[in-house]
Symmetry: C2
Subunit: 259 residues, 2 copies
């Protein structure tokens, strides 16, 4: 008797919160690929980066939104969600961890501020093949149909071929019709930055407060091997992403300082 | 008439909050090296990683704790503090940004969870020579005297020689008397991880809640070029740290997946 191939176990999370349309679109694809467990924040957690909750406690609540194998909302950050899923909820290490689909791009330097991508990076730290997906529009009415086809193709590729050790993928998808997409481009993150970042306002008593805002500046203009170039030119960008922050090339130079 | 050399402008922040003994120790050293501006969180922000505040507003409040050039507490994260300092408070780009001295080590993978180091990384993103300092004890009664000598030596070295583009330093200092320190070792971050990370408890009504906790596991045992090895063997560890998350070596391998 032939042994039936085991269904992949897929962990789904995000940073826009468990009820965001983007995670609904992601779950819809993942349930066609395997057994899905959702552990996602109970409220928006954009910009939380790799934050974890250590000065207060965490709770998870069973929910029934998507009708998948198991689903929980969590009071913590996206990284907390991955930790609690791996350590508490899942009986075995999942075959895939996907985060998103984020409402808004996470290209270039934004990978470091992004809760979506930090969840995927945490998956990689836990040695789980992991992917963060973002659609390049912040509209709540975004159409995820084209993105879903891309998500499926990339998730299938990763399930089949795996990923290099300690590497996850940062996938950004242009907000466009599927037929107009130029293709999928593997690239590096562009060197870019946010500038003029504060919007100062006065409260009713005349005291100042601030919103973080700003303008995105690409210092890698003209380089065709970056994610910013790929997205500006109609490609889906796929950046292999890792979590070793060491500037290996700088070690010899720093040794010369002789502190 | 000889022009007097301009005093360095030094931005000081941390993640334990503006009233922590560690930042007091750091300010005490920095005021001997230049004009000091403190912009630090008004409450503990440990484990905040590279989080920024985008779903709510930020405030800064002038304080008079250390009697330096300017000092503000900020309602945001360590990264918010750097952004608000650079964009709003400082008249010019500082010559140095220092974060800490953290109460507790930030070696290895902890760099990605650390608010202390994320502030230094944000400094590097802003092209400011930046250093995160951590003392390897979480005791509130820690003795920072030995650490202060190390901080001064490293800050002077960086002020004099600068740092490579897009690189900051992650400095961890053993909790030991100065004379017993073996020296300063430039190294890479060890590949390590947290495992078994949840302490589950019951609230008075019998519902579960969790504390993040866990055990640190070093997968780089025996490698003498890591920060964990340096600290275990009595050295101060200095890891050149960068913010390009691209796994450059994996690009060709990912291209072969043919999504």
């Amino acid at each position: 008797m032939m042994k039936k191939k085991k269904k992949p176990l897929i962990l789904v999370t995000n940073d826009d919160g468990i009820s965001a349309p983007g995670i609904a679109a992601l779950v819809e694809v993942m349930r066609t690929l395997g057994d899905v467990v959702v552990v996602a924040p109970d409220k928006p957690q954009s910009g939380m980066g790799h934050a974890i909750t250590i000065n207060s406690t965490l709770r998870i609540n069973k929910v029934k939104i998507y009708g998948v194998k198991e689903e929980y909302s969590c009071t913590g950050t996206p990284v907390d969600c991955v930790k609690i899923a791996v350590n508490k909820i899942l009986k075995r290490k999942p075959d895939l961890c996907v985060s998103g689909i984020n409402h808004g791009s996470n290209m270039s330097i934004n990978v470091i501020y992004s809760g979506t991508m930090s969840a995927a990076v945490e998956g990689a730290i836990e040695s789980i093949p992991s992917i963060g997906f973002s659609l390049c529009t912040e509209s709540i009415d975004a159409d995820f149909k084209a993105a879903q086809k891309i998500v499926k193709a990339i998730a299938l590729g990763v399930l089949e071929k795996g990923l290099p050790k300690d590497v996850c993928l940062n996938v950004n998808i242009p907000n466009a019709k599927y037929d107009t997409l130029k293709g999928i481009k593997v690239c590096r993150q562009a060197r870019a930055n946010w500038i003029e970042e504060l919007d100062e306002r006065k409260d009713p008593s005349g005291k100042s407060y601030f919103w973080l805002t700003g303008r995105f500046e690409n210092f890698d203009k003209g380089h065709k091997d970056t994610d910013v170039w790929a997205l500006e030119n109609g490609y889906v960008s796929v950046v292999p992403t890792q979590f070793d922050m060491t500037a290996h090339d700088a070690i010899k130079q720093i040794e010369k300082i002789k502190f």
